[in-house]
Symmetry: C2
Subunit: 206 residues, 2 copies
DNA sequence: AAATACTGACTGAATAGTTAGTTACAGTGC
DNA sequence: GCACTGTAACTAACTATTCAGTCAGTATTT
């Protein structure tokens, strides 16, 4: 139930052990109930050791956030060989599917809770700003490529990427905070949007 | 800075005083830092009185959540006289504008933080499920009306409403958790989506 | 021997919640 | 009018617990 996410499976040093323990505590208790004690309970070594490696709870959680975001960025589907129209399918899967890594339920839950903290903590907001920019820019580049390849309409890449960004945040949040399962229907509609507003008509070919 | 939201301005009984104090503590400290003590500090009467009116912290916060959600539902732009195509503009304003009530920054922040709690608390999730259903159903009805009025294309109302729902959550969250200001660009693109994928062409008239 | 990794026992502050008691007041008998 | 009663609103002071963080000291490595 806990360590289904691969990069936590075999921690290689103490820092990774700590981050793994933090992740497990997160999964079990959620952000608002997290304590050093609960992290320590998941940690094979002593609680004092946490303070040997970190100045305090805040620093530990910030490092955890940074680690989570770096994982999220690493898992983002980057450019491969195929065309932009095929690549965008991968982006959609990342957005909607469960079972991936970015879309792992526990991972998503942790991310949503961490993000909410950004509402009142400028340091958190800066981290998410960086990752949001990362995501937006990559989608923007993808759109631009598709236009150059002639498979996308001549849309505004920045605006389209912005919509993708908000959809990313929206789907992740909706998925873990509501039982009203709206995501399948949303995917259908979002695919319709992509067909009508992004993909170039190939009525001549098809 | 705090009580810019009208319905907290003049509490009429002790319960409303408590909810107001809770809201103020929320705005100042955020969900993860909220304590009974901090609520009590904003409350003109005694801390013990909180326990006279509520069984404990959990019950108080759940009542607060229910109150916030009922406010959100009340503020949702419901059917007025005009056509569905005009009405959908109001929905867009609710989604993107700042300065309204549903779109008040402090209010949004509180909502995003409360929603994140739903990731680990089934009781919270049930509340949000109810409100999400409320929102979805109303948008769905609006879409249906527009189709009947002949101003919308014959889209699937449920799927379109699902997309609106995710956009609601996404914009609210993005707005308060990231400095990457993507919302204006997102609105442009979302309006393009509405023109192309929802509104019926009136090329004959315009 | 020197540095680093690590531990268990501790501390003071903050926490949610309790308790014993005090007001405020509406109703009732006289 | 006036004393009495019951109830709900309210309070100050307290308790037990949990919290983040410290520290003195031990093991391990180099």
């Amino acid at each position: 139930m806990n360590d289904s996410v691969s990069f936590f499976e075999e921690p290689e040093d103490t820092r990774e052990e700590i981050l793994k323990a933090t992740y497990e505590a997160f999964c079990e208790h959620g952000y608002s109930d997290i304590t050093i004690q609960k992290i320590s309970d998941k940690f094979p070594k002593s609680k004092s050791l946490l303070y040997h490696h970190y100045d305090g709870k805040d620093e530990l959680l910030l490092d955890f956030l940074e680690f989570m975001l770096s994982q999220a960025e690493e898992q983002f589907p980057l450019r491969t060989g195929e065309g932009a129209d095929e690549h965008i399918e991968l982006v959609l899967d990342t957005m909607f599917l469960s079972g991936g890594i970015l879309t792992d339920e526990d991972f998503s839950r942790a991310m949503v809770e961490l993000r909410a903290e950004a509402a009142h903590d400028e340091r958190y907001r800066e981290y998410f700003t960086r990752t949001d920019r990362f995501t937006s820019r990559h989608v923007e580049y993808l759109i631009r490529s598709g236009i150059e390849q002639g498979v996308f309409q001549e849309v505004d890449p920045e605006e389209t990427a912005a919509m993708f960004q908000v959809m990313f945040v929206g789907t992740a949040t909706q998925k873990v905070t509501s039982n009203e399962s709206v995501l399948e229907a949303c995917r259908s509609e979002f695919e319709r949007y992509i067909r009508n507003c992004l993909l170039r008509d190939d009525t001549d070919a098809d």
